[in-house]
Symmetry: C2
Subunit: 172 residues, 2 copies
DNA sequence: AGCTTCTTCTTGAAGGTTAAACAAGTTAGG
DNA sequence: CCTAACTTGTTTAACCTTCAAGAAGAAGCT
């Protein structure tokens, strides 16, 4: 986000992005912004919820008894527990998720996908997949798709462990 | 986001993502989420503003007289005018941006980067570039960097023109 | 047991985003 | 001109996210 003045030696001059790197980075930011907006809008319109919430329902739908502990769900969706707490509160009000106490750990809560939640998913998944396809997969060659997967896997990996943060030990 | 039941012929059965596509897509979502969170946190901590706001200052810093019409800035940052309006209000309160009337179009407003805003940028840019490098560029081969740029350019392109949306004819 | 520490989840407030509606100004067509 | 249609930018309220703090239970240590 800046032009390189001079790469001085033994100096703490920041290593600015090269013009090529800048282009890559800007393309990334633009596409990521547009894509997330696009999907948020698509889902808000067709399913009445933002993309992240939809992702939560998907995770639950794939879990063993369609239930997951809050912390596990948060971790798997890459969001903070706080955010999840608010999200589940909303989804619960919609009747798509229900909370259940964990028998083995009285602090614990399960988020459980309700039948109604399943139904919403069943009804809206096709449209969502279509949107994803149209925005991403239909435009990329198999090679690019594979490359994208690898690249993003690498980036995600580098961001996962982190030292320790306020609310989220695993999220930096 | 679902398992393929059967690709029936001449049927409107949705084309679910293949397992490979699902992996790619999940990696993308995870990395994008983690990355945006990471950068948001980095900038919130070091610059006192979210990543998008930082991007606005950068755009302004590169514009001719360090000023851009609201609509142009919004378009270039890929956000809605409404969002920009709020953002500029906040940046103005921080003294980093100032609004100025457009002489040729009485409806128009320029967002102008103040000296103070420039200073914030100067002070925080190194740290931000370092974060981006560490999270992305340092982990990818030159080939992957190039591939990422191409891929994201394609995706962004497909999302740009669109038919016409409520507030944003160009977004969607 | 008793004490400290960690983990789980929630809360409340502050801030950011969205959607819809609007005022004001500009443009295009007759 | 004059009106209809469009643009620009803002506003409001509803919603979502973050941050810091905290209640409650579990785990570990002596």
């Amino acid at each position: 986000m800046n032009t390189a003045p001079t790469p001085a030696p033994g100096d703490d001059e920041p290593r600015w992005l090269t013009p090529e790197e800048q282009h890559v980075w800007r393309s990334y930011i633009e596409a990521a912004t547009l894509l997330e907006d696009h999907l948020d809008r698509q889902l808000q319109r067709d399913a009445g919820m933002p993309h992240v919430y939809y992702g939560l329902l998907v995770k639950l739908s794939e879990a063993p008894r369609r239930r997951l502990r809050m912390t596990e769900l948060a971790r798997s969706a890459k969001i903070t527990r706080s955010r999840l707490s608010h999200a589940v509160a909303r989804l619960e009000k919609n009747g798509w998720v229900r909370r259940e106490d964990c028998p083995s750990d009285k602090r614990g809560q399960f988020a459980v996908l309700t039948d109604e939640g399943r139904e919403v998913l069943r009804r809206t998944a096709p449209g969502h997949v279509a949107a994803v396809r149209q925005a991403v997969f239909d435009r990329l060659t198999p090679g690019q798709q594979q490359a994208l997967g690898e690249i993003m896997r690498i980036v995600a990996e580098g961001l996962q462990p982190g030292e320790a943060g306020a609310d989220l030990p695993w999220l930096r």
